[in-house]
Structure formats: structure tokens, C-alpha cells
């Protein structure tokens, strides 16, 4: 037996040696100590496109906004949101033109508006093989196989170079928007606005047979009428009649510069085979460059050493003759050298990793909310004690977006102009208790909507003196929702008594189109059925996948549905156009999913559209809102509040929902991070020890029984 003992004891010693106190659960391959000045975060689904002409979703902007620089950006700190120049040298000079393209003034009829844009000089692109020239020949522009031999990703190209940003690049990008091969989601919208965009589109679409080189040549050579290059740093855009919101478009990544070299580099067949495309490896002038793109695992942004530098804005910045002057110019952004975004599909790991300190900041899923924050009655939000103890900051902001339950106005039951249906809709609007919804499903991260327009946007009804009269009433100057009784007699008016149609005597059954993804679906649908039950309406929920849902919306076969809208730019127009009849989904394939149409509303909309944010405009909006609130084509849902938590070592965290390019402002205090992480993640070995003991017991039992068997006799 003794020889066994020896081995076991040795094993024990080795085993116990293995236990120590340094964290074992660091989810990065790098060692904790050299996480110097690196920002860690996560992304939930891999971005589909990183081509600025194409990408149109926040999870994609999270990356490209750091790399590409459009002409203008939102001021990081200022609320309400305000645009400031980014690569543009100053805010655009706006000239109004009449039908003969002669300059005119606001009080006359305006046919065209001209934006003259001046860009900064000496702005350089990131280093990129596309720019590398060898004796005046682009070295990588017609790659042969031995050049490609051991090239797997962009890093493998030996030579890189850069060049200065010119106005051509912007023009080229605008042309790309027109090219259907790039599937730009806004090419449709732009052809409404930019003068000559449409003709160019037709021209280019005819040229589908050209090979890519010729194509690029073609794009460069042919012009869009409305766009004119004035000089290397100056160009102008002419848009049809008047559209003040256009400036916001210019702040979106669609209008970032695109060097033609990049296009002609990435268009090469043999690169596409290796998944090296413009869609995956951006070329920009921004503070960061994408050095690792593995959307299955992680995306790594690195400091772009060609970046011209920018100063950290402050609230007492003022714009003197259209130039941003920062109060103190020492704070040159970006502060961090590197940002690592890891793919994190599952809720649980993401939240836990944040708590363990391996993510520097995190949005809160509604279900982590109890852990994170506590709501005091006055609506302002505090962190729970334990998170405070961890030194975690919370910053909140109401997103410029709205979630609503829409009625399909083409539907015979809930739709239509006649009062019967309207009463029904109003009743439902009363029945559905979005306060409860927010507290259950969003855990209070949101505020009940009075109208489509969210807070922070001009024309928002704060509920103090202007509010939704159909749903709320004032009781000693606090808003109170009208009760179910009201809803029921609205139903009576509509001709339904406790859920039965008076004419047919049949029970009233409504259908709700839901997209059945996510774990919460069941809970939500259940809740919704309860809401309708309150006024004895039976709700049938039809769960389908997203593109079935889309199809229904387009054919107008849906009846009731939930949808949301994120603002493209902070202007009421961008919300109210969701109810403009010319945007009807079924008729015009627009975004007006409930196919609402009201002559009055449309008229007011067209007037309101092109106005500046004046008193007059405010009134118009008020009137429009009263119209729709009475018709209630939507159940006014809620405007989500976005919370984000960040650890104590992350500095300069401001919530600004319009600005996407905020990474450059972030700042890391590495020492604190290192200490806290190692404090929070002490490994615990007790379980292993227990297992080990059990293992020993096994061994011994076997040995003992072997001996017993050896001694066995034949007798019973």
C-alpha cells in the first residue's frame, strides 16, 4: 500500500501548489499589467457593413464613426444638440437660389439652396496600402498572385502610405451613394433632395457592364449637376428648394470622405476572395484605424498616428465666426491608444464581465437593472449601494427615439376615418398602461410618450402645460391618466359592450403582429393580452420572424403591431414624417407603417418641415399633435432612456445620443483598473479541494476491494 501513498502525497503537493490569488478569469489573452491605456467594450451582433455609404445602424456606427469623419459633428457636451465643424473648416455658407440659380432671399420663393463647404487643410488619411505609390504607380492596385501569396488580412501588406484629404473625396463619396452597387439605404432619399443626384443615378446604373476600373474612371469623370468642386478644399452642394435638416445629413457617416484609391484597391477580385473588402477594412481620416477585424471574435481599433489632433471640447467653448475655440487647448484627443471590442452575444457573460471589471462600460439590460440602479419617486435615478461601493458611474439620457404600437389604418376594424374605429383606438390607447410596461420590461428606463416627439427634440410635450388631452387630464397640476371606465364607454360609443359587437353579437377579436425573437416575447405578449382583457377585447398574437413581419407591413395585412423609430437627426420633422401620408408604407413604401393619412396634418407638415425652430413652428407642431392624438393611429408608447454604467477608471463619459464618434474623448486610469480587477477576481479553490478528496476516496475504495476479492473463498 505504501507505494500508492507516496504518489498520492506528491500529487497533493503539486495540486496545492497550483492555487494562488492572482485572477484566472481574465477574458483577454493579454496580461493584466499591460492593459495600458486600452479601452475594453463589447458588441452584441457583428456589424454587417463598415462601408459608410451603406451602414445605417448604431452597432455599425460604433466603429466607423471613430474611423470616418463626416464634415460636421455634434458637440459632445452641449444640450440641446448642436453641430460643429469636424473636417469642415467652418459651418457651411448657405445661399438661396431661385429657379434661374440666381441668389435670392428668404422672403422670395426659393427653388434651390446652395451649401458652400470649406474643409480643413492638411488633414491626412490613415496609412493604407491603397495609397502606396512606387515610381508614381499605385503599387497594390493591380495585385498579382505572388504579391498576394501570404496575405490574409490588411496588416500583411508591407508598404503603406497616406495622402491629404481633398474635396474630391467628399464628392466621390456622394457619387458612391448614387451607385446602386453600394446599396446605399439613403440613395432614395438623397435623390429627393440633391439636385442632379437622380440623373447621375440613372447614368451610373446604365453602366453596370463596365469593369470596376472603368467604372471608377466613369464616376470620377461624370458630375452630379448639383455638386461643384470649387477648389481642392472647397465644394458646393445644391439641394432642391429648401431643407434645413440637410445639414444633419452632412453630419452622418454617409457623407464621410472616400478616396477613390481605396475603391480601386478593394475592388480587386482576388482580394474579395480573401474577404478583404471596403466593407470590412475602412479607410478614414479619423482618430482611429481598424487594425483587427474579426467580427466573430473581436474588433480592435488603434490610434491613427496621422490624426491631426483635436481639442477636448468644453461647455464654455464658443463658436467665434463659425470656428470652435476650446477654452484650453492642452487636452488633445484621443486619450486612449487602443480600443478592443469583443463579441458578446449572451446577456449573462456581458453583464458579469462588466461587474468583474473586464468591460470598462456597459449598457444595462432591463434585467440587470435591479442590480444596477434604484428609482426614486421624483424619477431621478441612483446607483444601488453595492455598485456605488464598486465606484461605478451611471449616466442616463433619453434616446431620440420612440416605441409605439401602431394600428394599420387600412384595416377594416381598427383602421379608417369614421368615429367607430377612432373610439376603439382611443379606448385601446387608454387601456394599455405603458407606465406598467416600462416598469416591468424596461424597468423604468423610459418615459411614457405623449406624442411621437421625444424629449430633447424641438416641440416635445413635457406634460406641464402641453400634453395629450385624449389620454390625460390635469388633477391639481399633475398629469393623471383617464381610467378604464372612460375607456369602456369609449368602447360603448364604438359599439362594443363588454367585448361583444352589438350588431353581430360576436366577441371582438383583434390581431397583434409580433416578432418572436428574444426570451421576453412570451412575457410581453402575455402582458399585452392582459391589457386588452381589461376592456374585454380578445387579442390574438401572431408571432413570426422579422422578415415575415416586414412583409405584412408592406402588404398592409397586419392589424396591430409594435415598432420603433430612431431619429436620423434631432428635428421634429424626422418624427412627424412617420405619419405623413406620402410616406404610407403600402402605397409609397415609406416609413408611415400605420398608413395614416389626414389632409390637415399633411398640410401642416409641409409647412412645418422647412421652418427653423421658431415660436411659429412650435404652434404648428402643437396643432399637428392634437390632430394625431385625437385620431390616435398609434398607441403612444414610450421614449427609452438609455443608461450606461462605467467604471471609476473611465473618465470623460458623457451621454450624447446623437454623437457617435465619442470614443476619442474617453480616458482610462490604468492603475485603478488594475487594482480593482485583481481585488474583485480572487479565485476560490475550495470546490477543487473537495473534488480531490472525493477522488482519493475512490482510489482507496478500489484498492481495498481488490484486496478483499483476493481473500475470497468459495463458500457462501
Amino acid at each position: 500500500m505504501f507505494n500508492y501513498h507516496k504518489y498520492i502525497i506528491i500529487a497533493c503537493i503539486i495540486f496545492l501548489k497550483g492555487c494562488s490569488d492572482k485572477p484566472l478569469n481574465n477574458p483577454y489573452s493579454d496580461n493584466l499589467n499591460n492593459l495600458k491605456n486600452v479601452y475594453y467594450s463589447s458588441f452584441q451582433e457583428r456589424p454587417k457593413h463598415l462601408d459608410p455609404a451603406r451602414s445605417y445602424s448604431s452597432n455599425e456606427y460604433a466603429f466607423i464613426a471613430q474611423i470616418y469623419e463626416p464634415l460636421y459633428q455634434y458637440h459632445y457636451l452641449k444640450k440641446p444638440y448642436e453641430l460643429i465643424p469636424l473636417t469642415a473648416a467652418e459651418m457651411p455658407e448657405i445661399i438661396y437660389l431661385d429657379d434661374k440659380f440666381n441668389e435670392t432671399t428668404l422672403n422670395k420663393k426659393i427653388y434651390y439652396t446652395k451649401y458652400i463647404i470649406k474643409i480643413k487643410q492638411g488633414v491626412l488619411y490613415q496609412d493604407h496600402p491603397a495609397f502606396y505609390k512606387k515610381d508614381n504607380e499605385y503599387f497594390y492596385h493591380n495585385l498579382n498572385d505572388d504579391q498576394l501569396k501570404n496575405i490574409d488580412t490588411l496588416k500583411d501588406f508591407k508598404y503603406e502610405s497616406t495622402r491629404e484629404l481633398t474635396s474630391d473625396d467628399y464628392i466621390y463619396q456622394i457619387k458612391r451613394l448614387a451607385d446602386y452597387k453600394n446599396h446605399s439605404p439613403i440613395s432614395g432619399v438623397m435623390s429627393e433632395y440633391i439636385f442632379g443626384f437622380d440623373d447621375f443615378k440613372n447614368k451610373i446604373n446604365k453602366k453596370s457592364e463596365l469593369n470596376y476600373k472603368k467604372r471608377i474612371k466613369f464616376i470620377q469623370s461624370t458630375n452630379i449637376q448639383g455638386i461643384e468642386k470649387i477648389n481642392k478644399y472647397k465644394f458646393s452642394i445644391i439641394i432642391k428648394n429648401q431643407y434645413p435638416q440637410f445639414i444633419y445629413w452632412l453630419a452622418m457617416p454617409f457623407f464621410s470622405p472616400m478616396p477613390w484609391e481605396a475603391d480601386s484597391f478593394y475592388m480587386q477580385e482576388n482580394l474579395i476572395k480573401k474577404n478583404i473588402t471596403l466593407n470590412w477594412f475602412p479607410v478614414g481620416t479619423g482618430p482611429f484605424r481598424l487594425i483587427e477585424n474579426n467580427p466573430n471574435l473581436r474588433m480592435v481599433l488603434d490610434y491613427n498616428k496621422n490624426f491631426r489632433g483635436e481639442v477636448y471640447p468644453s461647455l464654455n467653448d464658443k463658436i467665434i465666426d463659425k470656428k470652435l475655440i476650446s477654452s484650453n487647448s492642452v487636452k488633445a484627443v484621443p486619450f486612449i491608444d487602443k480600443a478592443i471590442f469583443s463579441l458578446e452575444k449572451e446577456q449573462i457573460p456581458r453583464w458579469n464581465k462588466f461587474l468583474q471589471g473586464y468591460y470598462d462600460s456597459s449598457g444595462i439590460a432591463s434585467d440587470n437593472y435591479d442590480q444596477a440602479v434604484s428609482l426614486s419617486n421624483s424619477g431621478d435615478i441612483k446607483l444601488t449601494e453595492e455598485l456605488k461601493a464598486k465606484g461605478i458611474h451611471l449616466n442616463t439620457a433619453t434616446a431620440a427615439s420612440t416605441y409605439y404600437i401602431g394600428f394599420n389604418m387600412l384595416d377594416p376594424v381598427v383602421g379608417g376615418k369614421e368615429s367607430k374605429a377612432r373610439y376603439l383606438r382611443q379606448a385601446i390607447t387608454l387601456a394599455i398602461d405603458y407606465d406598467e410596461y416600462i416598469s416591468i420590461f424596461a424597468n423604468g428606463r423610459g418615459i411614457v410618450a405623449q406624442s411621437p416627439i421625444p424629449p430633447g427634440i424641438f416641440g416635445y410635450q413635457d406634460g406641464k402645460k402641453s400634453y395629450n388631452k385624449t389620454i390625460y387630464k390635469k388633477v391639481d397640476n399633475s398629469l393623471v391618466k383617464k381610467n378604464i371606465v372612460k375607456a369602456k364607454d369609449l368602447l360603448k360609443k364604438a359599439g362594443y359592450v363588454n367585448g361583444l359587437d352589438q350588431k353581430t353579437g360576436k366577441p371582438l377579436v383583434l390581431y397583434f403582429e409580433a416578432t418572436g425573437s428574444g426570451a421576453d416575447t412570451y412575457a410581453f405578449l402575455n402582458w399585452l393580452r392582459k391589457q386588452f382583457k381589461k376592456i374585454d377585447i380578445q387579442l390574438v398574437t401572431r408571432v413570426t420572424d422579422y422578415n415575415r413581419f416586414q412583409e405584412k407591413m408592406i402588404n398592409g395585412t397586419g392589424q396591430i403591431f409594435q415598432w420603433g423609430w430612431n431619429a436620423d437627426y434631432p428635428d421634429p420633422e424626422n418624427f412627424l414624417f412617420l405619419l405623413y401620408s406620402k410616406n404610407g408604407k403600402v402605397k409609397y413604401g415609406g416609413e408611415n407603417a400605420s398608413n395614416y393619412s389626414n389632409y390637415e396634418f399633411d398640410k401642416l407638415f409641409l409647412r412645418m418641415k422647412n421652418m427653423k425652430n421658431t415660436k411659429k413652428r412650435k404652434e404648428l407642431i402643437e396643432n399637428m399633435l392634437t390632430i394625431i392624438q385625437n385620431d390616435s393611429p398609434w398607441v403612444w408608447g414610450f421614449h427609452p432612456k438609455s443608461f450606461s454604467l462605467s467604471h471609476s477608471w473611465l473618465e470623460n463619459v458623457e451621454s450624447n445620443l446623437m454623437a457617435n464618434n465619442t470614443l476619442k474623448y474617453k480616458k482610462i486610469n490604468n492603475n485603478i483598473r488594475h487594482d480593482k480587477i485583481s481585488k474583485w477576481n480572487k479565485p476560490d479553490f475550495t470546490l477543487l479541494h473537495i473534488l480531490f478528496i472525493i477522488f482519493l476516496i475512490f482510489i482507496f475504495s478500489v484498492l481495498l476491494t481488490i484486496r478483499k476479492k483476493e481473500k475470497e473463498k468459495a463458500y457462501d
Binding site: 485572477p23 484566472l24 478569469n25 481574465n26 477574458p27 483577454y28 489573452s29 454587417k48 445605417y56 445602424s57 446602386y180 452597387k181 446599396h183 439605404p185 439613403i186 440613395s187 432614395g188 432619399v189 474579395i272 476572395k273 480573401k274 474577404n275 473588402t277 466593407n279 474579426n294 466573430n296 471574435l297 469583443s342 463579441l343 458578446e344 452575444k345 449572451e346 449573462i348 457573460p349 458579469n352 464581465k353 468583474q356 473586464y358 425573437s517 420572424d545 422579422y546 422578415n547 415575415r548 416586414q550 412583409e551 413604401g589 416609413e591 477576481n681 480572487k682 479565485p683 476560490d684 479553490f685 475550495t686 470546490l687 475512490f698 478500489v702 476491494t705 481488490i706 476479492k709
Partner: protein, 325 residues
């Protein structure tokens, strides 16, 4: 031998054709290309012309089987069936609906899958065999009896519980390993420990039971009696005689799934955020990326059949009784 393998390889072809037709039917009956396009172009401001462009780019605008507009060979070749299904036979998986080259992705994602599957297989088999031998050693005693019941209990727990529980206990409470993530090279180890452990534990129940029954079956056999009558000890009978025989089904059982390891495991991978083919498939299913799913089905089929062939070969290697004709 060679002849046999060749014959089997020929035998694959009709099966592949069958599979191909089946999946093709499934996928192009289900959703019309327009819907796919709409799904992939995102949900804001999608116009009909974009959809058209998208379809054209991916060749979904062709007719399914026969193209009247073309003549000659093109009539066949300019069809979705030719483009999307037949080309698979040349391992030309084409471009995924989100625009990436599938073959490349598969090559990239294969290895992480293997990195989990292989260790879990090996460790699993070793552990199962140990336990099985342990029970066989205590056969027809209460140890064995309760051992079996415990196995059944382990079998009766859904894999999801193992994963969720494991993550919660090991990573969250004990801080022993990262909760999820992956890195290439040697750093991968710390990410693989937990998934491997979990998939091993998940396998223990059924595996141990199966091996146990194999061993018992062998122990009943006559040659065991012969061996004992030679005066061999219990253990040497167990290892030299029983084990050798029981190993045949075990080995071949392993061989058959060996190629399929490349496909990875769907649930584990997506829970632990490991960029393998398993999570690739799940994503494809959830985003209805048919190009990928088609490719995976095809790959799966081939690997499955390769597995079968390997099994036959492995039989000839481990079992002197079997000779291939």
C-alpha cells in the same frame, strides 16, 4: 481495401444529390429571394430597386431550375439551382448572403470548434472508460447499482442546465476561468477549460452506461472463463481480454463522430462565445442566411459519410475478424 474505399466514395454521390435536392427544396420553397434581400438590407428605408440590385448581385434573380431567357447550356447554368446547389459539389460555397466568402469563414472557424470538441471527446472517453471499469469492477454490488442510477440522473439533466449552472458556479462565484471568450494560440486554453469540462460532464451519464454495458457483455463471454481457467488474475483478464474486445465498439464509435467534430457544438459555442462552426450555424439559422446553411448541410453530409467510411476502415484495423471486400 483501396477498391472498397473508392466504391464507398462513389456511393456518396447519389446521397449528396439527394441531400442537395432536399435542402434546395426546403430553402427556396420557404422564402422568396426578395424576403431574404429585405432581411439583409436592414429594416430602414428599403426600396424595391435596392432589393433588385441585391438579388442580382447574388444571382437570386435567376429562375429556380430552368432559364427560358437563355439558350444552350446557360439555360441550365443561369439558374439558382445551378449557382447555389450544384456548385457545392466543387466545394464552391460561394458568398454568404451578408456578402462574405463562406469557404474562407469555414476554414477560419473550423479550428476553434475542433479545439473544444477534440479535447472534450478524448477526456470524455477516458473518464467514461475509467468510470465504466470502476462499475464493472464492482459489478452486481450496490456500488454498481447506484452508480447506474446516478448515471441515469446525470443523463436526465438538460445540457442547458449544465452550461448555465457551470458558468454561474465556476466563473461567477469561484472566479476560476473567464466566463466566455476566445483567443487564438495557447491563450485559448483558459477559455476552453470550462466548455470542455461541461461537455465532458454532460457526456458522462450516457457514455459510462454504454461502456459499462459493453464491458459486462464481454465479461459474460466464454473466453473470459477460459482465461480465468488459465489462472489469470481478475485485473489481467479485465485488461488483456475483456478490454481488448470491448475497445472495438468504443473505438469505432469514436471514429464515426470524429469528422463531425469539425461542425462543433451549437449550444456550447454560442454560450461561451467561441467563434466556431457551431455558432456560425446558429447565427445562420437565426439570420436565415441560406447560403451558409446550405453550405453547412453539405459539409455535414460529407463529413458524416466520411465518418462511416472511416468506421469501416477502423474495424479492419482493430478487429482481425473483419476484412473488407
Amino acid at each position: 481495401m483501396i477498391k472498397y474505399i473508392l466504391k464507398r466514395l462513389v456511393y456518396i454521390i447519389p446521397i449528396l444529390i439527394g441531400v442537395n435536392l432536399l435542402t434546395f427544396a426546403l430553402f427556396f420553397v420557404v422564402n422568396s429571394p426578395d424576403e431574404i434581400a429585405r432581411l439583409h438590407l436592414g429594416n430602414k428605408r428599403v426600396t424595391q430597386e435596392q432589393i433588385y440590385a441585391w438579388n442580382e448581385e447574388r444571382g437570386y434573380n435567376n429562375p429556380l431550375f430552368y432559364n427560358n431567357s437563355e439558350k444552350g447550356l446557360d439555360a441550365i447554368q443561369k439558374t439558382i439551382f445551378y449557382e447555389k446547389s450544384l456548385k457545392l459539389f466543387l466545394f464552391d460555397f460561394g458568398v454568404s448572403d451578408s456578402g462574405r466568402d463562406i469557404k474562407y469563414d469555414i476554414q477560419q472557424r473550423m479550428w476553434p470548434s475542433l479545439a473544444i470538441a477534440l479535447p472534450s471527446l478524448i477526456v470524455g472517453v477516458l473518464i467514461n472508460i475509467t468510470f465504466a471499469l470502476f462499475f464493472v469492477f464492482f459489478r452486481s454490488t450496490y456500488v454498481d447499482y447506484f452508480g447506474v442510477i446516478i448515471c441515469v440522473a446525470l443523463m436526465s439533466i438538460s445540457s442547458l442546465f449544465y452550461i448555465i449552472g457551470g458558468q454561474y458556479l465556476i466563473s461567477k462565484l469561484l472566479h476560476l476561468v473567464p466566463i466566455s471568450g476566445y483567443a487564438h494560440g495557447y491563450d485559448a486554453v483558459k477559455f476552453l477549460i470550462l466548455p470542455v469540462i461541461i461537455s465532458v460532464i454532460y457526456g458522462i451519464g450516457s457514455g459510462t452506461r454504454w461502456y459499462r454495458s459493453l464491458f459486462l457483455e464481454e465479461i459474460e463471454k466464454d473466453y473470459v472463463k477460459t482465461a480465468k481457467s488459465k489462472g489469470l488474475s481478475e485485473s489481467s483478464v479485465l485488461f488483456n481480454h475483456v478490454f481488448k474486445n470491448a475497445l472495438i465498439p468504443i473505438l469505432t464509435g469514436i471514429v464515426v463522430i470524429l469528422p463531425l467534430l469539425f461542425l462543433g457544438s451549437l449550444i456550447v459555442e454560442s454560450f461561451f462565445g467561441i467563434p466556431g462552426l457551431g455558432s456560425y450555424t446558429i447565427d445562420a439559422i437565426q439570420s436565415q442566411d441560406f447560403a451558409i446553411v446550405r453550405a453547412m448541410v453539405f459539409l455535414g453530409t460529407i463529413l458524416y459519410i466520411v465518418g462511416l467510411i472511416l468506421t469501416d476502415i477502423s474495424y479492419t484495423l482493430v478487429d482481425p475478424r473483419v476484412r473488407l471486400k
